[in-house]
Amino acid sequence: MSEHDDHDHGHDHDHDHPHNAPLTDVQLRVRALESLLTEKGLVDPAALDALIDTYETKIGPRNGAQVVAKAWTDPAFKQRLLEDATGTLADLGFIGRQGEDMVVLENTEAVHNMVVCTLCSCYPWPVLGLPPIWYKSAPYRSRAVIDPRGVLGDFGVKLPEEVEVRVWDSTAELRYLVLPRRPEGTEGMTEEALAALVTRDAMIGTAVVRVPEAAR
């Protein structure tokens, strides 16, 4: 903004309470840009609605959770997924924008994988949807590579020293999905019930999958 912003209210962006607050400068700015581009015939607001709806209601971490549950219950699928993630995910319909070239990283007793994008916010949209704020923010992007065990601590995860932590910095167009470990005590569960246990954070590698006490 700087030289262009002659308002005197600075960065008073009330992101958490958008409903009752007066319009802030960024809200007005986005609205003004949309009206300008619409006026010029460069955008169709209905296309914006369709884009937004896709990521609010259709593409999200439940996609990835299905993949994980299937890998836990079908060894041949898991093998294909690890060898050719892009093709195997495409067979399930999970392809496209920000998931063009996929790699699946398997967490084991010996190795824990965790994914970051230190330079921006690269993230596997077709399987996880759009990234959460913490993934895009400075604390995670700065610290995931230099202190991954400390970051895991922020998420309540403490790994034994002998576990090797591998952090994957998504600096190119490869997109990474972590295949978390299947928790003990889930032997009799259906694929659907397993998918319900898998969290977004476990597929980024900042969490492990746990079985809720009630389900034990």
């Binding site: 007005l28 990521y55 063009e100 590579v145 490869l174």
Partner: protein, 230 residues
């Protein structure tokens, strides 16, 4: 460029705080900023590397003080002016939050240009593979298992080598095949196709002897970023 976006290894930003049951967007304007960015990208006047490069032009103090979709807005506004979709005067009005003088209500859409993204094209647009991976038969310069050094380069333009690996020694772990080169692609200077590798850096080689001995960081790097380690 050595910008504020290159955050890996910095201290002082505090703990990572996850928001329980986080919504996909946190405000109506974030939805529209996201939609505008993708919809204008569909004109294909710029590529993803140009978009990233445009966001990286935000002054460092401003970058760190603003949220993710504000970075997107900054980049989009810049690209719209650079590519002649919006004049500098129009952008100045937008940045003051002023509506377009001749603007009618948003539901008046009979003037949408050919080439603008339409709602019925959205699913196809999102499924299409963009061409970051290319088929050019370029031989790899390095082999899996080979020790490499990340070249100590500090280009003023866009690059995808984080500062924390420059000049550091790693080992090629995976050869992912041939991709466009972002440094030239962002500058509109051609695709310069070359191999991308996941290079494994031992945490102690990056962060010193206090880092856990077994831990490592894998960074995806292009041929031109690397040289053989002596």
């Amino acid at each position: 460029m050595n910008g504020a976006h290159d955050l890996g290894g910095m201290h002082g930003f505090g703990p990572v705080v996850a928001e329980p049951d986080e919504p996909v967007f946190h405000a109506a304007w974030e939805r529209r900023a996201f939609g505008l960015t993708l919809a204008m990208g569909a004109w294909r006047r710029w590529n993803l590397d140009m978009s990233r490069s445009a966001r990286e032009q935000m002054p460092p103090a401003e970058y760190l003080a603003t949220s993710y979709y504000e970075h997107w807005m900054f980049g989009l506004e810049r690209l719209l002016v650079e590519h002649g979709f919006v004049s500098p005067e129009e952008l100045a009005r937008v940045r003051r939050g002023e509506p377009t003088p001749s603007s009618g209500p948003p539901e008046v859409r009979d003037g949408v240009q050919d080439g603008a993204l339409r709602p019925e094209s959205v699913p196809r647009m999102l499924r299409n593979r963009r061409a970051a991976r290319v088929d050019d038969p370029v031989p790899p310069k390095f082999q899996v298992g080979q020790a490499v050094l990340t070249r100590n380069l500090h280009p003023q333009g866009h690059t995808r080598v984080p500062r924390y690996v420059r000049g550091r020694r790693g080992v090629v772990a995976i050869d992912h095949g041939v991709f466009l080169f972002p440094d030239s692609h962002a500058a509109g200077e051609g695709t310069q196709p070359q191999h991308v590798y996941s290079v494994r850096f031992a945490a102690q080689d990056l962060w010193g002897p206090d880092a856990p001995a077994r831990d490592s960081v894998y960074v995806d790097l292009w041929d031109d970023y690397l040289e053989a380690a002596p």
